[in-house]
Symmetry: C2
Subunit: 430 residues, 2 copies
């Protein structure tokens, strides 16, 4: 058996502590699986005294995590500090520069600095692995890189943020509004006190940018991702969605269109009996469409100590086995700059909910505006019919260009008979 | 860039031709992904003249596939001949002995001779890879080996045979009997003229034996798999299942029980809204339960040229990249002989359908026999009630030992008031 792989862990939050626990409590099994002992030698965190349910006295305690990167007795560093800048970034850069392997769950870091870090890893013959950065315990990064590597990818679509999926699922199941459910999720620890990162879609954007990079062999382009979160979703829209056969999910979607790569994060209506439509609660799922494999679905826990640490430790075992993939699969110099397209290139079906004064001629006004943009309507729902009161009018369209739809929605929103800003949700056919 | 990886393909049926097509039509993309050109240099099949939709004139044609194993101009052999013995086995043995890499979709070969072939591969420092042997385009073998390698596995349960799943799905959707649907599946090419291998569960047994071997680090033990196929399933049972909230699926299940590894293939009732319950048609799906990752589901196409070739080519790219996993993940000498247990160790809930003469006292007789075996009933359905006629009586039990259930069923089947052999189906909680 080769020498032990010596690990330093920076950050002992949920994932760091979970990783430490797995590495220590099943050391023999892991050594058997990778042919080599994995030995945690040093740890670093903000608060040494905090009760994490694990004894730390067998490990060297390091106050400044950067020291781990300079310790010749460490081969691999697990970065669990988080954030795209600051200590996390400096630690990873220093470790790679010193030829040490780095395993991280830090999607912001990879989405923003993936290319720079990959180049650093290549220059110093170091490994940089981040399976845990996307979809927790689901091995989606390895699957895109290895298992599905024969494919040209048509689309990658995923429920990539457990907080959002929990909120949307709970709104629908408990029939509560967004704000109430968010508060409840915060109380349960499913959402952060500052929830913007999750509910405004930023976290999902990081993840889809990483998946798109791997699938299409291009640098992660987080600034090219269209991002729209779930704050605008009303329970009422879920009820209409259900009536139309849909569920509302926050999806990250990467598609190769004729004009280039499109990446977007926004609430979608998806058939409720489709694989992604059926994924509830804190679960994550990714649907990969390849030209050889067809559609492959991966579903599992997207967060939490066990699932995320499962992926962190899997990366560690890979490295112990000597697997040395390029961080972004392709060597940095062969990454392609490919055209990217924004939402103007999208064609899809749309759901539109309007609050209108129920008086004769309103529907005619609205349909005239659709006609003007050459948008073909698919269905129409109006539940109550109380003259002179505000009623909810729901329309769905056939496939239509986003630009035409936006023009129509703008014009419709300006009508005197429309009493609230229109609610538009894209329908994704999966 | 390193020298090209030179490939010989033996067998040009669906999978072989699909592999050849992918390797030739996107050679540049694949070379980019693995950092090395993949070059098909020779092919072998039974019939040179057959139209496969691909030109073969650029490749050396070899009549006897074994010659590929002895050709110094070949680095890797794709074995698509099939069968656990004969030419396929001799070819793989010869290739590994000569230090050549082998990629195969041959589950029978791996399930029966996996250990011997893995040993041969180790001795000659050759790679043996078989992602395509289980679940077609779903990267389940790599996921067990790499992505989920941090886990202790509680259970692996899968819909692993597309033919069976197609038959069961079609019976239910079209409301046809087993024999009719089998004939239809044969006409469509979804079932073989000699369908026993699929519908009697043998193919599923090969696959679950391979997955169990990888998950539990033990030699594949095909002779320890309990196997029961789907010939006995009636549409009537599907209707009752649906009424009870279940769908009927042929599952391969491997579980680590307290007393040892249990492997079984049989029809199961699973909640119709569970991930596996919702998998229809020719799709395959595997549910992996790990102690760290939790439940992870993989779903995709289990067969066909594209999906299977997708996995074959993924293995080829791995080998081109220099990835050198042990064929059974662990080195042969570290594979563990673990206790195996048979169906006598199973505890589950059961569905039992009885055709009984509807006369007073019958139910009392039956429930007395359940009571004698200390089996607790969970539900009871009897649709019609026409005195003196045969009626269908359906019972489900709480969790109970298989042995007690079999005794009860035997005694119930012997009752004068029971007019047909009882139909017992196990209920799997997923």
């Amino acid at each position: 058996m080769t020498e032990a792989l010596r690990v330093g862990i920076a950050g002992l939050g949920t994932v760091g502590a979970g990783t430490l626990k797995i590495l220590t409590e099943r050391a023999d099994l892991l050594a058997e699986r990778c042919g080599r002992a994995i030995k945690v030698v040093a740890v670093s965190a903000r608060n040494k005294g905090k009760d994490r349910g694990i004894r730390l006295d067998g490990f060297k305690w390091v106050e400044n995590p950067i020291e781990l990167a300079n310790d010749p007795a460490i081969d691999l560093i697990v970065e669990n500090i988080g954030g795209s800048e600051g200590v996390a970034r400096r630690l990873v850069e220093a470790a790679l520069t010193n030829g040490k392997a780095v395993v991280t769950a830090n999607k912001a870091l990879i989405a923003h600095h993936g290319v720079q870090l990959a180049r650093l890893a290549e220059e110093h013959n170091a490994v940089l692995a981040f399976e845990a950065a996307v979809a927790g315990g689901i091995p989606i990064i390895k699957s895109l890189r290895d298992g599905l590597s024969a494919n040209r990818f048509r689309r990658i679509a995923g429920i990539l943020n457990g907080t959002c999926n929990y909120i949307l699922t709970t709104m629908w199941e408990a029939k509560y509004g967004f704000d109430e459910v968010l508060k409840d999720a915060q109380a349960r620890g499913y959402a952060e006190a500052e929830p913007s990162f999750d509910i405004d879609g930023i976290d999902t954007a990081h993840k889809i940018a990483i998946l798109a990079s791997l699938a299409y062999g291009t640098p992660p382009a987080i600034d090219k991702v269209y991002v729209e979160g779930i704050r605008g979703i009303r329970l009422r829209d879920m009820e209409f969605a259900d009536e139309l056969g849909y569920a509302i999910k926050l999806l990250g979607v990467a598609t190769m269109t004729e004009r280039g790569l499109q990446q977007r994060v926004h609430p979608c209506m998806v058939r409720k009996d489709s694989p992604l439509g059926a994924v509830g609660g804190v679960y994550n799922a990714v649907q990969v469409e390849g030209d050889a494999c067809g559609t492959v679905l991966f579903e599992g826990h997207g967060a939490g100590a066990g699932p995320t640490a499962s992926s962190v430790v899997a990366d560690i075992l890979d490295i112990a086995r000597g697997v040395n993939y390029k961080p972004l699969t392709l060597a940095v110099k062969t990454l392609k700059k490919i055209n990217t397209v924004g939402m103007e290139a999208l064609r899809c079906s749309y759901y539109l909910r309007l609050a209108v004064i129920d008086e004769p001629g309103v529907l005619a006004e609205i349909t005239a505006l659709f006609k003007k943009e050459k948008i073909s309507l698919r269905s129409f729902i109006q539940h109550s019919h109380n003259p002179e009161e505000t009623v909810q009018l729901v329309l769905t369209t056939h496939e239509t260009p986003e630009s035409a739809m936006l023009s129509a929605v703008k014009a419709i929103g300006a009508l005197g008979s429309v009493t609230e800003p229109p609610c538009m949700i894209r329908i994704e056919h999966l």
